[in-house]
Symmetry: C2
Subunit: 354 residues, 2 copies
């Protein structure tokens, strides 16, 4: 049995229970469920990993990534929702936005922050899929602590560490959440590396979806490379408006963003070729540390993507990433097929455990 | 029985059947129903109004108000939705957005128009309340024809005319629809007046909600005054982000926007005092023609607002507006209490029928 990197864990990541997602107006059972974390913990434990409890951190790194007003919203909105009695009004016990201050809505008019909680929801969340309940802040904040603990393990000498977190983070921008993500753990990890003295950091995102949030956070930054391979938004996939091949960063960040959108049905060979390309650029960026946005929803039969990657594909991906030879923190993102989730994640991690 | 102004009508305004609205993730029966127009037609007919069928107009005036790309979207999206098989996929036969390219989502990233119909929906519609079905374009476009016919009646010598339309329009901006509105009939009427040579036009909006769309269309225009009295968005009411007292226009339009937000429960006296103020400013604007955004949802017991205005209040409002002595087109907007809708509308119109 291959050894694995140390795994950081907090029970609090289980406390986010969205229960439903609303897609095109239809409430459906969500796929980003607490059992994802349980399945992952079981798999890494069975594979012999050392499980390290998370430490507690203040908000300094989090505030480098996110607008403090967004953090205030996320911290308070579930209580405000309960006080607003939306449950007795229409049977909704989760925060779901319904109106959004889009550029088309404002159309040049000045924006005033709204008074109603049901309107505030759409200022900070950009979709109807990313519900907030009583445990959401606790879980998302715990995921940040888990991530920062993993960084500290590597700073302390471990060649790599795995942050076993949910909810995921890579769709959360500096000032909005969405796509089942609330706080951008991978971006926090990259900032933490910078704080520990790494002159340049690379984020490689192998989740099946483009990490629009992480890209946004570092868009104008030359010190953090962001590279992603993902199902092509141009083929109709989330995040739809962002994640295309031509996007390369701006200003000081020009050239430090690199996207490899892939056709549905790509499979192992095309996926691994794209990963080799992204990893090569990550290595060439001069990065002194690596953050892997480790989603395994590229798996065949995953309900959220069509990339058809096998467990052997994920194992090979681990080799490519470990081959960069950089101190590495792997932060969990997507992966919604509970039958493959543990196995595929262990397959990636096993390359890092020597 | 007081005589009424001529009423313009098209059967096609009945063809928009949203059936549901989605509010905070909960599908609820909509209140902007075809029966609203039936009730209104019955009431004005019973009051002895002459009902004039609408004529057909090309898109020239419509394109002065709305981005042609928004019109293309609205014209085609119901067919694209049907072709996308969202009904067999999740049981949704109406177009409902779920992800929105808000400033927070894009967060400085370049925007690419999305490939998927379910993502395109959120580019052009800013809420989950404003569903598009097979008859929506036909009805909204018919409402524009009804409105333009009413303008032509007044240009042809009638002192006033009433455009009996639904869906309403005043929440539709130049490039997005929402708030149960699709095409901005009142804005089209104002543009048509301008096209007929009126140097200045005033829009007075007595709907219970702020007409953010109309305000947006004319925000930087000095030739169209927009004045509105409405329930205060600062007290938690739609359109939430816009409609506050300090908003007065910009550039050439500075001073040509005037809002009188009102507290919930205001009642006749406060509402009529605000109307007198708005009407005075409309008159002082030098307008040569008047467009009234005639919503009657300020009525007590209306499910969509708390302004508590009586039928006598609406009658008095008609007197104030008719007292301006301007050629006037009244364009229907809101009003969702089917028991009061006809009576209150006739009360306003009766001042114009002499």
């Amino acid at each position: 049995m291959a050894s694995l990197p140390p795994v950081v864990w907090s029970d609090d990541v289980l406390r986010h229970e969205p229960r439903t997602e609303v897609w095109v107006g239809v409430p459906t059972p969500g796929t980003e469920v607490p059992d994802r974390a349980r399945v992952l913990l079981e798999a890494v434990t069975a594979a012999g990993a050392r499980v390290v409890p998370s430490s507690t951190y203040d908000d300094e790194m989090l505030r480098r990534v996110h607008d403090p007003a967004m953090l205030d919203h996320l911290r308070t909105v579930a209580d405000d929702w309960a006080a607003g009695e939306y449950e007795s009004l229409v049977g909704q016990d989760r925060v779901v936005p319904y109106v959004f201050p889009t550029p088309g809505m404002l159309d040049g008019l000045p924006f005033t922050p709204p008074a109603a909680t049901h309107a505030r929801a759409g200022v900070w969340c950009y979709d109807t899929m990313t519900l907030v309940g009583p445990g959401t802040w606790t879980a998302a904040r715990a995921a940040v602590d888990v991530t920062l603990t993993a960084v500290d393990l590597v700073v302390g000498g471990s060649p790599s560490a795995y942050a076993l977190v949910r909810p995921p983070g890579h769709h959360a921008t500096r000032r909005a959440f969405g796509g089942s993500c609330y706080l951008n753990n991978a971006a926090v990890a990259a900032e933490a590396w910078r704080g520990h003295g790494a002159a340049r950091v690379a984020v490689v995102d192998i989740d099946a979806h483009h990490g629009n949030g992480t890209q946004a956070v570092f868009w104008e930054r030359g010190d953090v490379f962001y590279g992603s391979l993902h199902v092509d938004p141009g083929a109709g996939w989330f995040p739809h408006f962002v994640g295309h091949a031509g996007e390369r960063g701006a200003g000081a960040g020009d050239g430090a963003t690199y996207n490899r959108p892939l056709a549905p049905g790509t499979g192992d060979d095309g996926w691994l070729a794209a990963l080799a390309d992204v990893a090569e650029r990550a290595g060439a960026s001069g990065a002194e540390a690596l953050v892997v946005s480790l989603g395994v929803d590229a798996a065949g039969a995953d309900p959220e993507s069509p990339l058809e990657v096998s467990t052997e594909g994920f194992r090979a991906a681990g080799e490519v990433l470990a081959g960069l030879g950089l101190p590495t923190v792997l932060v969990h993102e997507g992966g919604y097929d509970l039958g493959r989730l543990g196995r595929d994640t262990v397959a990636v991690l096993s390359a890092f455990g020597r």
